[in-house]
């Protein structure tokens, strides 16, 4: 059933749209040749263009345009072969030119869609309204000095994509799923690193509420929310606030608000908005951006496999479940890792290992798949050692933990620690004889019908063999000996 929030006057539906600002991966800025790396010394990645000096002029970076086109293609969106740049005028300490170069009514990318998957297994299509290119502003720091703010322009002029969704989401889960999916797509494409804590992806959340069946009511925009969890919280908090306003006989006013995660509330930024009249007009320092169709086609041709296609292929090629596949494709590196290990091996076993011990180990050690202590090659080797009965499953888990700790190959660990599985039936028989002799009473009980004790004997034998006995052989020999 559809998601609602119950108010005093009955259930309310949520209507959610997101505007995502995604920093484009490029070496240099959108309109200048200064570098874009995160965390550089203050004002060290600033050209006179980025600092808005007199007479400085913007010249557009081809790679940033290509990244926007790739993203548009990845969102299954229309690429506008003619687009234009406009100036958005406002004064702020970290906006050196006094305007931001953006695209107002003719963006580079038009309508597209993103498919999201929900926990229920359902999928939904979220519409993309548009994607446009714009420059980022610099950074003001307000906590460095008692009476002054400090301005660092390193980020000024870095290329951003603003990706605007349709108001197609109806609950916090969908908003979260949309953001996650969008981030996955951007990372696959290599157009944005999706790093929300470094600010390379930020979201403005548009929220309104309505009674089921009604037309849209007034929306509010919650600005600059910087994690997926906060977006989901902000949606709910803002929706509840609006419901309260409506139900107490008030009217929700269209405004910009700020989410305060510490206090769990949104608050008005209206004071700031009053002075804003952005006076958009066509940027006269730039010409229309006209894209060559063959260039766009070449970019399309070079696109990597995207998550939806990859998910379907992994199911088809490896016989894993849709659920497992969906988890693997969330990060391209994870899917690559799976494919590397699964190639020529039992894919089901690989999936079990990755979803179990492997992810647990990553979580525990706080590492990413990219810098995993256990490489795809080593994990593959470990699984091979199980398949060829060099070690048994239990020892494998032990070996794996050592691999996590040391990064060593499983072969080396097994050799160094003598963990090779014992398949010598003579050694197994000796161990069984010793166990049966030491437990004559239990043997008698077993023989008188207490067959449950079989497991006990297996355990004792394995213990006697320090876990290295081949379980199948031990079972077989025990059965014979116990008659």
């Amino acid at each position: 059933m559809s998601y609602t929030i119950g108010g005093e006057t009955g259930p309310w539906e949520l209507v959610i749209g997101l505007e995502v600002h995604a920093q484009i991966i490029s070496k240099s800025k959108l309109f200048s040749g200064a570098a874009t790396e995160f965390g550089a010394e203050p004002n060290s990645q600033v050209s006179f263009i980025d600092a808005g000096f007199p007479g400085m002029l913007p010249v557009i970076n081809r790679e940033c345009v290509a990244q926007a086109v790739r993203t548009g293609l990845g969102l299954d969106a229309r690429i506008n072969l003619i687009s234009r740049f406009d100036r958005k005028n406002y004064f702020y300490a970290d906006l050196p030119q006094g305007y931001q170069i953006s695209q107002y009514d003719q963006p580079i990318v038009g309508a597209g869609t993103v498919e999201i998957e929900l926990e229920s297994g359902e999928t939904r299509s979220i519409g993309i309204t548009r994607l446009h290119l714009e420059q980022d502003a610099g950074k003001s720091m307000h906590d460095q000095h008692a009476s002054k703010s400090f301005v660092d322009l390193n980020r000024s002029g870095v290329a951003l994509m603003e990706i605007v969704s349709e108001p197609d989401m109806r609950n916090p889960e969908e908003a979260g799923a949309y953001l996650r999916k969008l981030r996955t797509i951007l990372r696959y494409l290599g157009t944005c690193d999706g790093n929300m804590d470094e600010g390379s992806m930020r979201a403005d959340v548009n929220v309104s509420v309505r009674k089921p069946g009604e037309a849209f009511r007034t929306r509010c925009e919650v600005k600059n929310v910087n994690s997926i969890r906060f977006v989901m919280q902000a949606v709910e908090t803002e929706a509840r606030r609006q419901i309260e306003v409506w139900e107490s006989g008030g009217v929700v006013e269209q405004e910009t608000r700020l989410f305060d995660p510490a206090r769990g509330v949104t608050r008005s930024m209206r004071s700031k908005e009053d002075a804003h009249d952005y006076r958009y007009f066509p940027e006269p320092d730039l010409l229309p951006l006209v894209l060559d169709e063959t260039w766009v086609a070449a970019l399309k041709n070079d696109l990597p496999e995207l998550p939806d296609a990859k998910r379907a292929r992994l199911v088809r090629d490896f016989g894993i479940s849709a659920y497992e596949s969906a988890i693997f494709v969330m990060e391209r590196a994870t899917a690559d890792f799976f494919e590397t290990v699964a190639k020529g091996r039992d894919a089901k076993l690989v999936a079990n290992w990755m979803l179990g011990d492997f992810f647990a180990a990553l979580n525990r050690t706080g590492r990413n798949i990219e810098d995993s202590p256990v490489s795809a090659k080593n994990l593959g080797a470990l699984l091979d050692l199980i398949s060829d009965a060099t070690i048994n499953g239990k020892i494998a888990k032990e070996v794996f933990e050592i691999m996590v700790e040391t990064g060593d190959t499983p072969g080396a660990i097994i050799e160094a620690r003598g963990l090779r599985q014992v398949t010598d039936t003579g050694a197994i028989d000796t161990a069984i004889d010793r166990v049966l002799a030491a437990n004559a009473d239990k043997v008698a009980e077993y023989k008188s019908g207490k067959e449950k004790l079989f497991g006990f004997f297996v355990g004792q034998v394995m213990k006697a063999m320090a876990g290295k006995g081949n379980p199948a052989l031990v079972n077989e020999a025990l059965k014979t000996k116990l008659g």
Binding site: G33, V46, A93, K272, L287, P288
Partner: protein, 95 residues
Amino acid sequence: MSLDPAMVRRIAKLARIRLADDEVPRLQGELNAILGYVEQLAAVDVDGVAPLTGGAQMTMRMREDRVTDGGIPDHVLANAPDRIGDFFAVPKVVE
């Protein structure tokens, strides 16, 4: 369209230019004279005419993605009225 004193103040505020009270009537007169003069454009038939937005009738060239600039904080900061360390300093902004 004629500007009243409140509008003159609003425009000055948007343009971030402080006006003294006695400047308002003078500016109101001057700005209205200019607006009155440009009013004649209302007589031109512009139906179906695409606006001419730039001075050049060309399309845009793109530059290659190379780092060719930056690394000159001393030059960037050399003209700053208030520089603290490698930052531009302004009165504290309360957000």
